[in-house]
């Protein structure tokens, strides 16, 4: 078996920190788009945060969205072009904290969208917690900068190289 770069993932250096899982999820999405053969009708919506640059890695149409509003933007795209396959890629700060209303209402309206939720606890702003961090978890971690980076950098993803932090 050959381990190669998916067709719709660009060949470029990553800007993500060592141990970060975004790159893996980007890869998986590029693989899925290739497998389903839907590059010609895919529109992705990048979040606010580190992964806003997702559109520089994927090779299909992409849009940006204001923080938390990705599903509103996705609604606008999908409703005006129902033939497109539209997905949003959002972290917990985006989807759960600031964008709760857009998330719930997009679901409530039954919008025909895919929402990929990357629950990685405010990776970009390292000392911060999001609404999705479990109560008390900060006590057992975060004793040093290195540990902070380890926790926020990779703990949400079961990826083999997360120790790289």
């Amino acid at each position: 078996m050959n381990f190669t770069r998916p067709k719709y993932l660009r060949d470029r250096p990553t800007h993500y920190c060592p141990g970060c899982g975004h790159g893996v999820v980007h890869r998986v999405i590029a693989e899925v788009v290739e497998e389903l053969g839907i590059r010609g009708k895919t529109v992705g919506i990048a979040p606010v945060g580190c992964a806003v640059l997702a559109y520089d890695y994927w090779d299909f149409d992409c849009s940006e969205a204001a923080h938390g509003r990705a599903l509103a933007v996705a609604t606008g795209i999908k409703r005006s072009r129902p033939d497109l396959a539209v997905f949003s890629y959002q972290g917990d700060g985006d989807l759960v904290a600031i964008g709760t209303a857009e998330t719930i209402h997009a679901a409530n309206r039954g919008e025909n969208l895919t929402c990929i939720f990357i629950n990685n606890a405010y990776n970009y702003h390292k000392p911060q917690r999001s609404n999705k961090v479990k109560k008390g978890s900060e006590k057992s971690f975060l004793k040093s900068d290195r540990q902070k980076r380890f926790f926020f950098g990779g703990s949400s993803f079961s990826v083999p190289y997360r120790v790289g932090a």
């Binding site: 590059r39 010609g40 009708k41 895919t42 529109v43 919506i45 806003v52 640059l53 559109y55 994927w58 090779d59 299909f60 149409d61 992409c62 849009s63 940006e64 969205a65 204001a66 509003r69 509103a72 933007v73 996705a74 609604t75 606008g76 795209i77 999908k78 409703r79 005006s80 072009r81 033939d83 497109l84 209303a101 857009e102 209402h105 309206r109």
Partner: protein, 365 residues
């Protein structure tokens, strides 16, 4: 037998007059301009427009969404516009404040969109009376970053119609959001109008930038994020170049300055109608009253106003605010000209007579 539902794609433009409110006229103009996406959230005094769009979008097979908030509505318009669809949203002052972040993103991403503001009294929740207190917000930024909206201010229901048609053309041509700045008076009063077919000054451009699925072409990205040294500066300079072009080409105004004018009244939107009454009311005096009405608030007709005011002793600015357009009039005319101001706000409309009294008391004429 199942028949395909025939869509009412209306007799486009006709010469038959109809009675219509300003809000409805904006809606009909949007439909006739090919707007097929509307997202909004109810707020008085623009509710008629949301209601109108909910009916008409169904007729023409477009999309109407009553969003969960103004934030969602403007971002839905962002999404729809990024696919190349003509899209519109509308609100009134407090709701427009909520939309500012989205408007800044639309301007930053160079997406065409039409945003309607039927202004009401402020600040805060204010009241639902007519007002012109959002002039600064509309013309000087509102959201963050160096950007401009093209701001059109209709003075009648007929203009609410023609300016909306024009607004969609301008938005597409310049890839820039356009604001229709009306108020509770223009929005809610009914006048007879004719759906005149406007002169098409703007050639339709193919929207090659739109997100339509990258079938057989390189990827399109709608973005306003530019990291890296000087990249954002370059993007900003490109925007500024566009704004300079708009300032050069899209200035619109109306003026009526008699030769022996002793006073020039400067007013926009619904206050222009009042200014017209004032001029008629003072018609018997020895000196005549001139009128100047900016139709585009951005770009503001600085040079045209300077020209119109040449040789006139007194200038009076009338606004439903406490002096917002006044600042632009001062910029246009400089310090040497005597500029008076009459304004009422907080949802109150000045009476023609009180302005005439003010003119006579101050000996402006």
């Amino acid at each position: 037998m199942k028949t395909k539902k025939k869509l009412k794609v209306h007799s486009y433009f006709s010469n038959k007059p109809v009675l219509m409110t300003g809000n409805d006229a904006v809606g009909e103009a949007a439909i006739k301009s090919g707007c097929r996406f509307y997202a909004g959230y109810p707020i008085t005094p623009q509710n008629e427009l949301t209601a109108y769009m909910s009916r008409r979008m169904r007729d023409v097979g477009g999309v109407f969404i009553q969003a969960e908030s103004e934030l969602a509505a403007i971002n839905m318009v962002f999404g729809a516009s990024s696919t190349g669809t003509r899209a519109m949203t509308s609100s009134s002052s407090p709701g427009i404040s909520l939309k500012q972040e989205g408007i800044s993103y639309i301007a930053g991403c160079e997406l065409p969109a039409v945003i309607v503001n039927a202004q009401r009294g402020g600040p805060g929740l204010g009241n639902i009376g007519p007002s012109q207190s959002d002039y600064f917000q509309a013309t000087k930024g509102g959201g963050h970053g160096d950007y401009h909206l093209i701001v059109l201010a209709p003075t009648s229901v007929e203009e609410a119609f023609t300016f909306t048609v024009l607004g969609f053309d301008l938005a597409d041509y310049y890839r820039n959001p356009v604001m229709i700045l009306s108020d509770a008076i223009i929005g809610q009063m009914a006048e007879g109008i004719v759906f005149k077919k406007p002169r098409r000054e703007y050639p339709k451009k193919k929207k090659a930038w739109a997100l339509t699925g990258a079938r057989g072409r390189p990827q399109n990205i709608i973005r306003s994020l530019y990291l890296g040294e000087r990249v954002l500066e370059k993007h900003n300079l490109k925007l500024q170049e566009k704004y300079h072009l708009i300032e050069k080409k899209e200035v619109r105004f109306r003026q009526c300055v008699p030769e022996n004018a002793g006073l020039l009244v400067v007013a926009y939107g619904s206050m222009y109608r009042l200014a017209k009454d004032i001029a008629a009311g003072l018609n018997n005096s020895r000196k005549r009253v001139g009128l100047f009405c900016p139709l585009t608030l951005w770009p503001f007709p600085y040079r045209a106003l300077e020209k119109a005011a040449k040789g006139i002793k007194n200038i009076l600015v009338v606004e439903m605010s406490y002096g917002q357009m006044l600042e632009d009039v001062r910029l246009a005319l400089g310090k040497d000209v005597s500029i008076s101001f009459f304004g009422r706000a907080g949802g109150e409309v000045p009476e023609g007579e009180e302005i005439i009294d003010y003119i006579l008391k101050k000996k402006l004429l």
